[in-house]
Every structure is written in C-alpha cells, then in structure tokens.
C-alpha cells in the first residue's frame, strides 16, 4: 500500500476518489463517483444545480462525511487521518466562511493559525496572500462592510493561506463583476500550475476559461470526464447560414445534397441544417454560381459547447 502510494506521489497524484457516495434519506446526492486529480490540473465540476457538485466538494474538504467510498488526499486517507489530510486542502465553500465582525487581517490570521501556522509564519502568509489576491488596501476594514467581490476574494485568499497542494473552490466567481471574474480566473490558472485545483460551477464559460479538465455531473453521477480539449472536439458544425440576393424556392435549397432541413430567416437568409461532417458548402457555391443566386453570406454554424453540455447533462449516459 505504502509503495503504491509512493509510486503515485511521484506522478503528482493529489486526489484519488473511489466509489464516493452520499445519501440524503432516499435520495442519492452523490452516487459512487470516482476520479483523480494530478498536480497541474484544474478540474472543473460542471452540472446543473442540484447535481451533487457541492456535496462532492464538501466531502472532499472533510466537512461532510461520505456514506461510502474512499478519498485519498496527497497520499493520506481523509477518513482514517482526517487532520493530516485536511492540512493539505484549501477549501472555499459556496458561502465564504467569514466573520462579519472581524477585519480582513484578523480573519486571515485566525484562519492561518487554525491551519497550524506559527505566529510568525501566519503574519508573513497574511501579507503575502493579501498581495496576491488584491486585498492589500482593505486589510483593516471590517468584513461586514466589504463588497461581495472583496468577500469572495477574501474567501479564496483564506483557502490559499496555508499553501495547500489541493485547492477546492465551490463556485468561486459567483457574484463578481466581469473584471473581478477575469482577475480570479487568472489567479486560478496561476495556482493550477504547481497545484491541483478543483472548482465547481454551473457555467460552461467558466470551465472554458480556466480549466484543463472537465467533469460533468448529473443526478449525482459523472456523465462525462475528460480533458477540455476532447470536449471541444465535439464541436462539429451542423448547419450553414446562407445569404442570397435572389433566393430560389426553399424546395431547391432542400434538394441540395446532405441538407436535412431549411429554415427561412427572412431577407434572403436561410439556415441549412445538415448531417454532422457533411457540410454542403461546395454544392451551395456551385449552385449559386450556376443559377445566379448572388451569394453574399456563407457561414458554418458551430454547435457551441453549451449545447453539448446540455446534451450531456440531460440525456447522454456515462462516456468513460
């Protein structure tokens, strides 16, 4: 066992989850999911609300006990040695755990001390993290008076304070404005270089912007797991938008090879739906030239990731 763990450590394996299950009464909020996280990965947990993302995060952070399965954090079993395993985790819950009556400095040094940093070390860590998360100017302000954006940043700062190898962020950019979102995403990408980051979100753009890997959850199960690049591959064009100065009858367009359906968008524009990978681009060009349709627009329309996500989240079964 030890040998096995040691071997995995060299591969930079930070988190290994096996058969993780959690029930609330009759409902299986998380149903026997398994995955791994390697150093350098930013893993995005994606899924509609109520899919079990937060429950999974809470179990990984040791805040919620699972009903079954194993969680190994940095080579330590979270259930056997909770204190040692939790030392390796930085966790930002959905609701940043902040005391309204404390100042930013007080909150951070309290959290640092809770994670076992000495007085001196915690002072240094607080200064460093405030710089990194853009909190330097608000150190002496009361948390109760901070804006949502600052509180969220403070919550993230708190999770990073003791320099853990595994960082778990539950919806880290909720309630932030676009500029703050960009900053936080930059920070997360930076963190992902020498650590393992798990974040949850229900927005796909979030995953696209920050993650290297993605896992899609639905009803407590993993319905997709893989590198983000693989998911991008599924973006295949399934329709063409055409603009014609002197359009022919719809039936003529329908008769073009591989066209399955024609949608009249008005003012000479049409959407030609076709089978994946068989775009009738050539035929359209050819016919337009021969029949004098006077083509002025020809755009392949990509199925966006969003719709792939929705497909996966609603219908498709396990991919892996």
């Amino acid at each position: 066992m030890l040998v096995e763990n040691a071997a995995l450590m060299t591969d930079g394996l930070l988190v290994r989850v096996e058969g993780l299950t959690r029930r609330y009464g009759e409902v299986r909020a998380v149903d026997a999911i398994a995955f791994t996280l390697v150093r350098g990965q930013i893993l995005g947990f994606l899924g509609p609300n109520g899919a079990g993302k937060s429950t999974t995060m809470r179990m990984l952070a040791g805040v919620l006990a699972p009903d079954g399965g194993r969680i190994i954090i940095d080579g330590v079993d979270l259930l056997d040695e909770p204190l040692r395993a939790r030392q390796a985790i930085g966790y930002l819950p959905e609701q940043p755990p902040l005391y309204r009556e404390l100042t930013v400095d007080e909150q951070l040094s309290y959290s640092a001390r809770l994670h076992g940093l000495s007085r001196v070390a915690s002072r240094q860590a607080v200064v460093r993290i405030k710089q990194r998360c853009g909190l330097a100017e608000v150190g002496r302000r009361l948390i109760g008076n901070l804006s949502k954006g600052y509180r969220q940043r403070l919550g993230i700062a708190q999770a990073l304070l003791h320099d853990p190898p595994v960082i778990i962020l539950d919806e880290p950019t909720v309630g932030l404005d676009p500029i703050q979102i960009r900053e936080i995403r930059g920070l997360i990408r930076e963190l992902g270089q020498d650590r393992g980051v798990i974040l949850s979100t229900h927005r796909l753009s979030e995953v696209q912007a920050t993650c290297t890997h993605v896992q899609i959850m639905r009803d407590g199960r993993l319905v997709y797991a893989g590198a983000l690049a693989d998911l991008e591959q599924r973006r295949r064009s399934t329709s063409l938008r055409v603009g014609l100065q002197t359009p022919p009858a719809v039936a003529l367009l329908r008769a073009l090879p591989a066209v399955e359906q024609v949608e009249d968008l008005g003012q000479g524009r049409f959407r030609l739906r076709h089978a994946a990978g068989a775009a009738p681009t050539r035929a359209v060009l050819e016919q337009a030239r021969v029949n004098g349709w006077e083509l002025w627009e020809l755009t392949p329309e990509h199925a966006d990731l969003e719709s792939i996500f929705i497909d996966l989240a609603l219908e498709r079964e396990v991919e892996q």
């Binding site: 006990a65 030392q87 609701q95 309290y110 001390r113």
Partner: protein, 250 residues
C-alpha cells in the same frame, strides 16, 4: 489551537454590543440589590449583637448578593452561549472550523474557554461590589472567596449546558430558549423534594444552585466541586459527539 479559537470567540463577544449590554444590565441590577441589602443590614445591625455566632456583613450582604448573582447568571448565560455554534452554522462559518485540521474536541474546548473567560470577568466584576465593603467593614475574605469560586463553577456548568444546546440547532434563539428551559429545570428540580421529604434525594443532588449553598457558607466541599465539574464535562462531551454528528448529517 484551543487558544486561537478561544481568543476569536472572546473577541467576537466583545465586538458585539450584546456582551456589553448583558454586563451592564447585570451589574446595574446587582448594584441595586446590593444597596438594598446594605440598607437592611444597617437597620438590623443593632439587634445582631449578642447572637452566637454573630452574623456579619459577609453573611447578611455578600451571601444573598451572590445568590441573586447566580440567578443573574442563569438569565445571562443562555444569551452568551446561544451563538457559539448555532450562529456559525447559520452563517456558514462552521465550515471553516470543520475543514481546518482541528479536532472536534479542540473546537469545543476553545469555544468553551472563550465563554469561561468572559464569565470569569463577569464574576470578578460582581465580586468588586462586596469587596468595596472591605473599606469600612470587617469582611470575611475566606467566605467571599469561596462564594466567588462557587459562583464561577456554577457559571462554568451553565455555560457547558448552553454550549451543547447551541450545537443542536442553527437558530440562536431556539438554542437560548432551550438552554434557559434546561437550566431552569436543573434549578427548580429540588422543589419536588422540598415537600414532606418523601422525594428521593436525587432531586436535591441534581439541583444546580443547591451545590452553591456550602460555598456561600465558606465551605468548599469536594463533592460540590466535583458535581459542577462533572456537569460541565458531561455537556462538553455531548457537544463533541454532536460536532462529529454534524459532519455525518451535513
């Protein structure tokens, strides 16, 4: 770790107006009663001469004052302890403690220590009033000391019960009410035994303020000390178990 948590707890208490208000109100009410007791003592003073043993100012002013102070603690402590865990659960800050590498027993003891320090401060303030009598009267410092020790132990027991009940709910008001109810039950449980002596002495034994009686007479019985300590330890143990349970239930 325990001290870190205790320090934050104490800080939280003093940063909220609640703690100051409670201190001010208790102090004000007790001062009023203190004055009444002194007034009574002065009108009785002449008639006491010749009684054997002659009751002094410590028996007639300090002991009754501390007895009232015990009631004040019964009213004040639930309001202090109600927030300990229930507020943290409601606001979500408990997640910080649960995800930190801190054992549940350390969390419980840290919070308990914070409240105890506050209550010891309150008892010390209460003690200042009778102490001021030392300027003009012969005060029995031994009796005063044992009385204050008894009051502190009582406060510790009351706080432990309050801490446990605040782990049970995410609503501070519910925790306060439940604590008050439970403490009142332990307070008046000996009423059942005061009838014709037909009731089991168990009820006498369970009564919280009854164990204070000996302290006020200047007697420190190890049995009374043990009662308060066991009472506190039992509730702290329950609270620790309950904290594990919160993790299980989510």
């Amino acid at each position: 770790m325990i001290f870190t948590i205790a320090a934050r707890e104490l800080r939280g208490l003093f940063l909220s107006p609640l703690a100051w208000t409670l201190l001010a109100i208790t102090q004000g009410l007790l001062a009023w009663i203190f004055l009444i007791l002194i007034d009574e003592f002065r009108s009785l003073e002449g008639r006491l001469v010749g009684l054997d043993p002659m009751p002094g100012v410590t028996d007639l002013v300090v002991a009754p004052l501390l007895r009232v102070a015990a009631w004040a603690l019964l009213l004040l402590t639930p309001l202090l302890t109600m927030r300990l865990f229930s507020e943290e659960r409601r606001v979500g800050t408990l997640d910080l403690l649960l995800s930190a590498p801190v054992a549940p027993v350390a969390i419980v003891l840290g919070k308990y220590l914070g409240v105890i320090v506050f209550l010891l401060g309150a008892v010390a303030l209460i003690g200042l009033m009778p102490l001021s009598l030392g300027v003009g009267a012969a005060l029995d410092f031994g009796k005063l000391g044992s009385g204050l020790l008894g009051l502190s132990l009582l406060a510790a027991s009351v706080a432990a019960a309050g801490l446990y009940l605040s782990t049970l709910t995410a609503q501070p008001a519910v925790a306060a009410t439940a604590t008050f109810g439970l403490l009142l039950a332990f307070w008046i449980v000996d009423l059942a035994g005061s009838g014709q002596g037909t009731v089991s002495p168990v009820f006498h034994y369970l009564s919280l303020p009854r164990h204070l009686d000996a302290f006020l007479l200047g007697l420190i019985h190890s049995a009374d000390v043990a009662f308060y300590l066991l009472f506190s330890a039992a509730f702290l143990g329950l609270a620790t178990r309950r904290l594990d349970n919160i993790r299980l239930q989510g």
